[in-house]
């Protein structure tokens, strides 16, 4: 019997945390602990999540591989599947297959300073990488995290942002586009507006950019203007996906399938692919 | 193992044929028929991907009876008995004419024939009508008066060979994709195309001339063209003198419609009106194609007559590849009309008021028949309030979403004494019913549909009815039995034999002959080959002459004002069908257009501060809906377009029940609204 690549594994929701307005973080454990034991992944990879009798959707893994035994998914309620997921309770069971995609470079960027630029829920996949980097802290130079949201209520992982800021040789800068409630003491403006506030050793820094396509577009322009080379800008691509396996064709760009050859690309690679972010 | 069943598409009037692939009583595949003259191996997206609803879990699988506001499952006999009792009761207490029956252009000819027979012979009323009232009632009347026959004059295949094609009020690529296919082919071969539409439709891109008239000014536009044709002596004098009457009155009236005057009314520059008239009149084979943009107006009949005037003035009718071609919307709206699912005629347009014809049917059906013309769908709804209509039986229609002024329709249906609905889903209308009977889809029964080109074609059963549902023709016969009237047919083929026997234009049609392919009526005898184009030697009017009618211009009933400054027009999109009952349950179609939207001109959007894709509220005097804005440059300024498929953003909450005085068709194409951001 050959393995059926479309069959999801059952996972139990062990914890649900309200992350931000319209965003929840789900902790999942494989029902079959054997599968859990063998399950390994890289930051930046994603899974196809099944809400039974509703449908399936690709969701990136936000936990770090350094934490064994469970997975975390941070999910904004935006569609049919994610809204069904938001209605689930602890103890409920969902389906999961993966991990899929190439994931972020890790060893390849060791020795470098790391600049993270995230927008909204785009911090979720980066969080996986950030925590893994902090777990192997001595491999990297300075770690700068720039994070922006539309309004303060949308900021995810606030506790962790505070913790990361306190760690050695790291900095965390936050911004919001606007603050209707007027209770925000930090920076106001798009996330790119934080860039002039930090010192960057261009030759020795790799930038990871993740967020809504518009935000990625403008941040990349900012980085290029600062003098970053295309190879040193790493981002993720969002495309409609059905299978996650490079078969269904929805996420095809050039000879690549975003689900399999991506979703992580350097800006240099993206330029060669032709289509827009 | 898979089987393949050749059948006729259940969506629009093009009448495409395809094979349905069947496995385990499910539809699993589609294969376009390459030998079919319209399909030619091609289909639109609905033909390819529109049939998932057939096997939907939401299908009605058992009769339902409402008790204390909730439905419970019931046996067929129980449901029949209840309906029969209620009909009997209403009849004895208030008379047969307090009952109305809505037939369905989605159902087969056989079913429509039986349902009008049921209304007339079993209930004893001519109150039978169907959604043709809402689409081509004006065509049936307008073309009957002018030509003597209310249907497309030519076959679809002839369009490909036309020299000039004049499209007015038809977004053909969206509504009749396989007719648009013929038009594109004709243009590639060198035909000239003139498009007149307030929206710059896709076909305008390949048009020789595109003109954009203000909504509801079609009579003026055509009168203006007639004026030019007469002034420049481009008319066909021989045709006019030998084959028509009433020219002088027409000439006198259109003299007032100079290009300048017409330009003022329509908003089209005078030189473009002249150009359109010249192109049309100079073609040796000019064909007019129209649809709801002509018919759904308070001047619907006038609009249709104007098209006929244009064709007769230039002798462009009665020949191959010319004529006046109303594109019928539903798969079988032509057939439902042909079968007499109309309040004034039996099958084959035989008037109920004609004593001789009535006696013919009395003899055939063995009962005394009512002599007065019945009420229309639109009038029936209005007559509920006055208690003139107390019970309605609906087969396969969803008037709450499809009729104008939804809120009014819903209130009216709620106040009926009794409502029975026969459908395949629990539609918005079925939810209001006292009894719901589960009918079947086109894939679960045998029958025939008559396409827009008057072609009678076979529909073949591919799968067994789902659950306990039954073919609609069977339901009618069984219900009739509960009312003490015997309708005994072994199969739809038997019903067609009865139709042929009493309907001259279908006289030569039988299932045996249809095995060889479709037949265009009139087909009066078993050896008659059918009639691809009409009015060859003479018109179908008594006396054989076509008749001009001088029609003055009348403005639409509800024009924009300070409070409601925009005009709303409604229509369909290629991915959905009518009230979405079927297409929104078909996976690909639902994915493409899951939600309603309103099309607005970029400049209007900018003026109102509305971003593309923003949510907006559209309000009329009758209701309001919230939906997404789609800013485009292909619609006139001041005009909005909303597709009417989406119950949660139902365009017909906004439209007005302003009717054409004769055809009783509502003016879906013009009403006044305002739009604001939310």
């Amino acid at each position: 019997m050959i393995e059926n690549i479309y069959v999801p594994h059952l996972m139990t929701i062990t914890k649900i945390r309200d992350e931000a307005e319209n965003v929840k973080t789900f902790t999942l454990e494989f029902k079959d602990s054997q599968i859990g034991k063998n399950f390994d992944y890289k930051p930046g990879q994603f899974g196809e999540v099944t809400l039974f009798n509703i449908g399936e959707a690709p969701i990136s893994i936000t936990s770090s591989p350094a934490n064994k035994g469970y997975l975390e998914l941070s999910v904004a309620n935006v569609g049919k599947v994610t809204s069904a997921l938001h209605q689930k309770n602890e103890g409920d069971v969902i389906g999961f297959r993966g991990p899929y995609g190439n994931g972020f470079p890790f060893e390849e960027v060791s020795g470098k300073n790391i600049l993270f630029v995230a927008g909204g829920i785009g911090l979720a996949p980066l969080r996986s990488l950030i925590n893994q980097m902090f777990a192997e802290r001595n491999k990297f130079g300075k770690i700068s995290i720039l994070y922006g949201c539309r309004i303060p209520n949308l900021l995810c992982f606030q506790n962790e942002l505070d913790n990361w800021a306190k760690l050695e040789n790291s900095e965390v800068l936050l911004t919001v586009d606007a603050c209707p409630e007027n209770d925000w003491k930090g920076n106001i403006g798009v996330v790119g507006s934080l860039l002039p506030n930090i010192d960057i050793d261009l030759e020795n820094t790799v930038a990871f950019v993740c967020g809504p396509p518009v935000m990625i577009h403008f941040v990349i322009l900012d980085l290029l203007k600062m003098g970053f080379s295309g190879d040193n800008i790493i981002t993720t691509m969002e495309r409609r996906m059905e299978c996650g396996l490079g078969k269904c064709g929805h996420c095809n760009i050039g000879e690549k399938y975003v689900c399999k050859d991506g979703p992580v690309f350097s800006y240099q690679q993206l330029k060669e692919l032709g289509e827009n972010i | 193992m898979q089987s393949k069943v050749l059948t006729t598409c259940e969506f629009c009037g093009c009448g495409c044929n395809f094979y349905l692939g069947v496995e385990d009583n499910s539809l699993t595949a589609v294969y376009p028929a390459t030998s079919h003259p319209v399909s030619q191996g091609r289909l639109c997206v609905k033909g390819w991907m529109g049939h998932d609803y057939v096997n939907s879990y939401e299908r009605l699988k058992t009769p339902l009876i409402k008790e204390r506001g909730k439905f419970r499952e019931a046996s067929w006999d129980e449901a029949y008995k209840l309906i029969a009792d209620k009909i009997q009761q209403t009849k004895s207490q208030y008379g047969s004419d307090s009952i109305a029956v809505f037939s369905s252009a989605k159902c087969t000819n056989e079913e429509n024939y039986l349902l009008q027979k049921f209304a007339r012979a079993v209930i004893g009323t001519n109150n039978v009508d169907h959604c043709a009232r809402l689409c081509h009632a004006s065509t049936v009347l307008g073309l009957s008066q002018t030509f003597g026959s209310g249907a497309m004059t030519n076959a679809i295949g002839e369009i490909g060979k036309a020299e000039v094609i004049f499209i007015i009020g038809s977004n053909t690529s969206e509504q009749h994709p396989l007719v648009a296919s013929q038009i594109v082919a004709a243009v590639k071969k060198g035909a000239k195309l003139v498009v007149a539409d307030p929206r710059e439709i896709q076909l305008a891109k390949v048009a020789t001339l595109y003109i954009s008239q203000k909504p509801g000014t079609d009579v003026a536009l055509i009168n203006g063209m007639l004026n030019v044709i007469i002034a420049e002596d481009l008319l066909d004098k021989e045709f006019i003198s030998q084959r028509t009457e009433g020219y002088d009155e027409l000439k006198e009236l259109v003299a007032g419609f100079t290009p300048e005057k017409t330009s003022e009314i329509t908003g089209i520059p005078a030189d473009k009106i002249i150009e359109a008239a010249r192109i049309y009149a100079k073609g040796q084979a000019s064909t007019i194609i129209y649809s709801m943009g002509i018919t759904q107006h308070t001047t619907g009949v006038d609009n249709v007559i104007s098209c006929a005037n244009l064709a007769m003035l230039t002798g462009n009718v009665g020949k191959e590849s010319t004529g006046v071609n109303p594109l019928r919307g539903q798969n079988n709206v032509q057939g439902a009309c042909d079968m007499g699912a109309l309040p004034n005629v039996y099958s084959g347009y035989q008037a109920v008021t004609n004593e001789e014809l009535r006696q013919k049917f009395e003899k055939a059906w063995g009962v005394k028949l009512p002599a007065e013309v019945g009420v229309t769908v639109t009038d029936a709804i209005n007559k509920i309030e006055s208690k003139d209509i107390r019970t309605i039986y609906i087969m396969g229609e969803n008037p709450i979403i499809s009729d104008p002024d939804s809120n009014h329709t819903e209130q009216a249906l709620k106040s009926l004494d009794f409502l029975a609905v026969q459908d395949i889903f629990l539609t918005e209308t079925a939810k209001l019913a006292d009894v719901v009977l589960p009918g079947v889809s086109f894939a679960e029964k045998n029958g025939t549909f008559t396409s827009t080109e008057r072609k009678v074609q076979r529909v073949r059963k591919a799968i067994e009815p789902v659950g306990l549902s039954r073919p609609d023709w069977k339901i009618i016969t069984e219900l009739a039995a509960f009312l003490g009237y015997k309708m005994e047919y072994d199969s739809p083929s038997d019903i067609m034999d009865e139709i042929a026997k009493f309907t001259p234009s279908y006289g030569g049609i039988s299932y045996d002959r249809l095995e060889e392919g479709g037949l265009c009526w009139p087909c009066p005898s078993a050896d008659h080959p059918g009639t691809p184009y009409l009015h060859k030697e003479q018109f179908a009017r008594p006396g054989g002459k076509g008749k001009f009618f001088a029609v003055p211009y009348r403005a639409p009933a509800e024009l924009p004002d300070d409070e409601y400054p925009l005009t709303l027009t409604t229509g369909r999109i290629a991915f959905h069908w009518h009230t979405g009952t079927m297409t929104r349950k078909s996976w690909t179609l639902d994915r493409e257009y899951p939600n309603g939207y309103v099309e607005i001109n970029n400049n209007d959007a900018a003026k109102l501060g509305i971003r593309n894709k923003a949510m907006v509220k559209v309000t009329s005097r009758r209701g309001e809906i919230t939906l997404q804005a789609k800013a485009v440059n292909t619609i006139q300024e001041g005009l909005l377009f909303i597709p009417f498929h989406f119950a949660e953003a139902a365009a017909n909450k906004l439209t007005a029940n302003n009717l054409d005085p004769v055809a009783k068709i509502p003016e879906y194409k013009v009403c006044a609204v305002k739009l604001e951001g939310v």
């Binding site: 050959i2 690549i5 059952l10 009798n53 064709g249 | -």
Partner: protein, 342 residues
Amino acid sequence: MSATRIIDKKKLADFLETLSSDCEVIIPTVEDGNLLFSELGSSKLEDSFKGRPIVSPKEYLFPQKEKILAFDTTDKVNVDIKAYTNDKKRVIWGIRPCDLHGIKTLDAIYLSDFVDTYYQARRKNTIMMGLNCNEPCETCFCNSCQTGPFASEAYDVVFTDLGDKYLVKVGSDAGQEAVDKIPNLFAEATNDDEKKAGELEEKSKQSFQRKVDVDVAKQNLPESWDDALWAEESEMCILCGGCNFTCPTCHCFNIEDVQCGEKASIRMRYWDSCQLGGFTQMAAENTRENQAARLRQRIFHKYIYTPDKYDGAIGCTGCGRCIEVCPVNIDITHILGRVASK
């Protein structure tokens, strides 16, 4: 492989009927003037026929709609997941060389990297018997794509119509095994038979009405990315999806969970079309917003992306179906001609 053989035309039915004792045999047949694939037994074998069915035989490996999984959540915690299997043995006879090539392309896509469970199950149980084309159709251009009119690969057995008999060539062990089931139906081919087949091939090659300079078109395509031709050629598209549905190499699908019980659903996969806007629609944005970009994707996928990804062979077989099926005559040979002449 063994020597080339011949079989009397009248005996082909005997051969296929024998094979059908333990598998389903699919043949092209003409019904009401429509050429369709159909099961032997329910339909008759044509003595000869021109062209290919409008829907390619890829659907026997990758069906239009296919049940892949069934879910039952009656037990909320131990959700029941059932995977559908399909290991029906099948012989398809009469596959044209373009379609044989199409299946070869699908093999490359579905059987590489992640091996597609459902495709693989059907593929390994299918024996493909080709039938060379003596007479191309008006829309055919396989000659330009070097996939036809006579097959040189990707078949288990291939037949050439010599009039009253077929020339039979075996291309695989599975094909050999099938032919060996009733060896007495076959005779050794003579030199004359082979010569006649050669002449037929030559004649067929001369009778194409369409020709595409594939190499030049491929070379020029990247430069055409921003060309106005994509908008011009796609402006009348009515979004039917027919070009994708009939294409022997289009492999895209969508997945939908369809309710089938109060607490049960079936996960279906079904053919999708990159010409539809919803194909790339995400929650907020669409990455291919206009029809020009979608038409360009279809052509680039066939002529650039597929060869780049899989061994250089283009993903277009020249079968001409997308031309025939298009209601508004969007013509890939015309488009490639424009590209080649830039």
